[in-house]
Amino acid sequence: MSVNVRIPTILRTYTGGQAEVSAEGATLAEVIADLEKNHTGIAARVLDDQGKLRRFVNVYVNDDDVRFEQGLETATPDGAGVSIIPAVAGG
């Protein structure tokens, strides 16, 4: 399963400045693991010490907030768009 991952500005130091990268995985957890393989250090920014999504990170698979789905176990179908977004915006 190949997906496109949109990278927020504050994580682009890990992707050589790229705003979008591709990654492999059938679930969000697998996608993040694959991102870490190719962009070392990125997983520790997105996940906390317990391996859960940090509370100020929002992740969308296509248009769905994974917190309304199955969190890190949310399925990532082939060709899906995954967006990692800081949660502290708005209001």
Partner: protein, 429 residues
Amino acid sequence: MAAQTVASTTDSRTVDLGPAAALSCRECGHRVPLGPVFACEECFGPLEIAYDFSAYDTEELRKRIEAGPSNIWRYAPLLPVPADVATKPNINPGWTKLVKADNLARELGVTGGLYVKDDSGNPTHSFKDRVVAQALEAARAFGFTTLSCSSTGNLAGAVGAAAARAGFRSCVFIPHDLEQGKVVMAAVYGGELVGIEGNYDDVNRFCSELIGDPAGEGWGFVNVNLRPYYAEGSKTLAYEICEQLGWQLPDQLVVPIASGSQLTKIDKGLQELIKLGLVEDKPYKIFGAQAEGCSPVSVAYKAGHDVVRPQKPDTIAKSLAIGNPADGPYVLDIARRTGGAVEDVNDEQIVEAIKLLARTEGIFAETAGGVTVGVTRKLIENGVLDPTLTTVVLNTGDGLKTLDAVAGTGLTATIRPNLDSFREAGLAS
């Protein structure tokens, strides 16, 4: 204060934002130079302004504030703005009325003094003028010439007006189904107004993605990349309330919750006044108010959780309809630390409260004001809010913006233009 060199979106420039010293992560404490960034590069936590207030003498500062203009810039020494901010083209909000609400107090059984901080008196009739005025100064400092935002309506109008005054371009994004009054009040200033097919959280997500894309390059999103500066504007509510009470802390405050930013910054403002010696230190309680149809913070509070599970909003209080509130966890911390609470009321109770405030005090609040008044009543009835203490309730917007909420209110009678008809209608004294 010394100016500081920072990295902007495109180059380095020198900025003067008064006593603002750096940006500091509220989660992990990581510090970065002042710049148009909003999330911590270490943990994604919210960045907020760290100040250097060390040079201030309490009594000199008090005199300087009291001699200042009748708007938020009287507090310029405590804000991330240059010292000459009052001379720049801006909408100059604030110094709104603190209404002693004796009639409402009688109705609710409050004996300790009840006040309504009525922010409908701002230039675009909501508290958002405070935060936008701040963000405009940051945008100027960082060299932006376009102002943008995601908005539930009030912010859109405030951004449009501030951009018009300052000669900036504005392009703001709102849910497509907002109240007509808010759409008109945002569009009339001549900027670009874009409806997004989705709710506020969808709009917010879109703006967060736009900011990282070349399509949004060079834009100052007041509540995204300028959010640390923008949010500080809400501190001025705390400053004004205390100054208007004779430099005293109120015992209890009832504050609406959308993203939670306003409530957290009111607490920050109160803490600053205590540390600076401008008010006497004493306990105060902050109560958060939500609509039942969008109550993620209230639900978390009542469940004893310290994380906020997002909701899909469904309420008439659209200005509070943020299902994924960025500052929700901090609101929980503050409510618990101060001995306050978070409560919610349903749409029917919101409408009743709007009418109650209008009937007793002559203040026509938007739905968010109905939420705070309704929650105040509920908290008193439940024995949570102490009616013997000084209490300040916030009204953050004008009822003219949400006429739909009270659409059933209208004519008492229609009569022919003669006295008999007047008497027949039962209107004679």
